[in-house]
Symmetry: C2
Subunit: 193 residues, 2 copies
Amino acid sequence: MSQDWRERKKARTRERIQREALRLFGEQGYDETTVTRIAAAAGVSHTTFFRYFPTKEDVVLADEYDPLIEAAMRSRPDSEDLVERVRNAMAEGLAAVYAADRDALLARVRLLLSAPALRSRLWEQMQSTQALLERSLAGTDDPAAVPMRVRVVASACLAVLTTAITTWGDEGGTADLPELVDEAFAQLRAELS
Amino acid sequence: MSQDWRERKKARTRERIQREALRLFGEQGYDETTVTRIAAAAGVSHTTFFRYFPTKEDVVLADEYDPLIEAAMRSRPDSEDLVERVRNAMAEGLAAVYAADRDALLARVRLLLSAPALRSRLWEQMQSTQALLERSLAGTDDPAAVPMRVRVVASACLAVLTTAITTWGDEGGTADLPELVDEAFAQLRAELS
DNA sequence: GCTAACATGTTAGCCACTAACATCCTTCTC
DNA sequence: GAGAAGGATGTTAGTGGCTAACATGTTAGC
C-alpha cells in the first residue's frame, strides 16, 4: 500500500509527458518541438522530462515489443526451421499489437517515418531485438557463440518485417498489416528459390 | 588554372582534418573526442570543421560506395534474378574496395562497431543505398512505384551484407570478407528452401 | 510530530551545430 | 601594380539535447 500513491502519480506524470509530446510532435513535427516545450506543456521542468525519458527519442520509442517477441519465440516448436520460427513469432507478436492498438501503431509508424532522428534510434532498438532473436534461435546467452547462419536469418527476417511495416505506413495504413507481413516473407522465399 | 591552388589547399585541409579525427578516435574513442579538439589538432577552428564536414559522423562516413554499387548494378545482365543481381553487384563493389583498401576498411568497420552514434548514421546511409538498389532493380525513379517485392529483396540483401561485414569485424578481420559474404548469401538461401 | 527518503525545480555547464559579422588573402581587372 | 571583388577563415554568440550539483518541498515510516 505504502508506495502505491507515489507509483501511480509517477505513472500519470509519465503518461502526461508522453501524451503532450506526441500531440506536439503531431502538430508541429518532431524536430520543431523542443524538450523544454514538451516539459512546459506537461507542467514539469525539462530535467524532470529527462528523469522519465532518457532521451527525446524514447518518448516515441518505449520498447514494449521485445518481451512479446521473446515469449512468442519460446512457444515455437523445435520442428519449425529457423525462418519459420522467427516469422511466426513476429507475426504472433504483431497480431496482438495490431488487434489491440491499430491506430496508435499507425500513428507511431508514421511519426517514425517522418523524422530521421527517430528512424536511426529505431535501428538501434532493432539491433537489440536482433540480438534477442539470435540468442533465442541459437539457444545461448553468449553473443560470440552465435553462428553467422543464425545472424543472417535474424537480420534478414527483421529486414523483411521492417519493409512490410514501412510499406504499410507509406500507404497510409490502408492494407492489412499481418497480411502484408505474410506476403513479404512469401516474396522473399519466392525470390530465393 | 586559377582555382587550382584553392582547390588543392581545400583538399589538403579536408584530409588533414579527417586524418587527425581518425587518429584521435582511435586513440581515445569516438565519443570522448570533441569536434573542437579535432579542429585544434588540424589547426583550424571548429566552425571550419563544420564547413568541411556537416556532422561529426561524416568524418568517418564519407560515402564512396554508392556510386560503385550503382555502376555495378548497371553492368548486371537482365538474365539474373533480383537477388543475384544485388548479390553480384555488392560483391563486385566490395571486392574492389577490399583489394585496394583492406586495412582501412577494417579500421573503419571496427570504429563503426564501437560507437553507437556512428552505427545509427550508418543505417541512415544504408537507407539511401537501399533506395538506390530499389530504383535500379525496379527500373524507375519514382520511389512510390517500387513494388514491395523489390523492397523486400533489397532490404534483405543489405541485411545479409551487413551481417557478413559485422561478423568479419567482430572476428578482427581474420576471415576473407568476400568469401564470408558469399557464404552468408548461401546460408540465407539454404534456410529458405 | 520528526526524520529519512524521494520527487522536483533551479542553475550552471558541456557538446554538437548554426548564424552574423569581421578579417584576411587570393584573384581578377584596369 | 593598385584596388576591387570573392572566397576562406576566425570570433562571438546563440540554440537545443543532455547532465550534474544543490536546494526545496513532499511523502513515508516510526
